[in-house]
């Protein structure tokens, strides 16, 4: 058993599952947005704002944002533990990644509910 405190959950199974679940959410969100953009003729600001004005779209977008944070944390945590061997530097990079994700999340909420 290898101990780790910086990964997403406490077990490998949890991280593995969360990475896959978040990937499905992100895929659905991407497909939906692509379909919306391609399916709307003469897409303008009013249509775009109208889409994001609906509660279900805000929830869907927030879910995608959280999924992005989870997915990228698991991925970047894996990359940093693979390639950055000095502990202090690895921790700083991981903390930086965590901070950026947190900022994106709060900023995303601000955008979604501030429209």
């Amino acid at each position: 058993m290898v101990r780790s405190v910086t990964n997403l959950g406490r077990t490998g199974a949890y991280d593995w599952l969360m990475q896959r679940v978040s990937a499905v959410v992100l895929a659905l969100y991407t497909l939906f947005l692509t379909g919306f953009v391609l399916g709307s003729s003469d897409l303008d600001y009013a249509q775009w704002a109208g889409l994001f004005d609906q509660m279900w779209m805000r929830i869907f977008s927030l879910l995608a944002l959280i999924s992005l944070g989870i997915h990228s944390w698991v991925g970047l945590w894996t990359i940093t533990t693979d390639y950055i061997k000095p502990t202090a530097l690895r921790f700083v990079v991981q903390a930086g990644c965590g901070l950026i994700m947190f900022v994106y999340l709060v900023w995303g909420v601000e955008i979604l509910w501030g429209l």
Binding site: M1, N7, G12, A13
Partner: protein
């Protein structure tokens, strides 16, 4: 044929280097790479490599042959040599002791970690622990591993974290005991593997499958372990 050979003697060399050796292959015979190494050793006795059974059973002569990990004793020259050149290097990712001989300590430590022996708490029967033919069949494709390290030393996840990721060879054996109907330590074995490194560092690139000289499939075994871990936690 030109053989480019990885040479390193820590007592005399500061850095490793590649040595070119010309070898005259006999007409009408397809030699194994190990035979070529013996011919080289006749010219230069200082060349170091491991070998024992010379028939793909002991797993001693795993090495990197023209870019791919293989057993020298069961690899015909005709199969790997293109453009009349043979490049021999030690197994990647493991510390070199000398020339083609690598230090396999970390590989064996990972093997030891998975407790590669039957654990059974039940009282010993009078004669032996029986197993149905169906249960015995589940061990096929697992028990044949000869621990040559061709798979683990071709795995990038093992290169980056050899102290934490068990590696394909160790995980194949871990599943060999998880799948054994006579073993009663399944929960304990899974506890030891359920962290983000031991099993889940496998990214499924399947280098292990493409190099295994016994034709085994560690990626599939890792998939089975992952499924067992998921089943008990979700």
């Amino acid at each position: 044929m030109l053989v480019s050979l990885y040479r390193y003697n820590p007592e005399t060399d500061n850095v490793p280097y590649m040595q070119d050796v010309e070898v005259e292959l006999p007409e009408g015979k397809d030699l194994m790479v190990l035979d070529v190494l013996h011919m080289i050793k006749e010219q230069d006795v200082s060349v170091a490599f491991r070998r024992s059974c010379r028939e793909g059973v002991c797993g001693s002569d795993g090495m990197n042959i023209n870019g791919m990990n293989r057993l020298a004793c069961v690899t015909p020259v005709s199969e790997v040599v293109k453009k009349d050149k043979l490049v021999l290097r030690p197994l990647p990712g493991l510390p070199v002791v000398r020339d083609l001989v690598v230090d396999m300590s970390i590989f064996y430590q990972q093997y030891e970690r998975i407790q590669p022996y039957l654990i059974n708490d039940n009282p010993e029967p009078a004669i032996e622990r029986l197993q149905s033919p169906e249960d015995r069949e589940k061990l096929d494709g697992l028990y044949e591993c000869i621990l040559c390290a061709c798979c683990s030393s071709s795995c990038p996840s093992f290169w980056w974290n050899p102290d934490k990721f068990v590696g394909p060879a160790g995980l194949l054996q871990a599943y060999r005991f998880l799948a054994d109907s006579r073993d009663t330590a399944t929960a304990e074995r899974l506890d030891n593997l359920d962290d983000p490194f031991s099993v889940f560092r496998c990214r499924g690139i399947m280098n292990c499958v493409s190099v295994c000289p016994k034709g085994l499939n560690p990626t599939r075994a890792i998939g089975h372990i992952r499924t067992m871990l998921m089943q008990r936690t979700t």
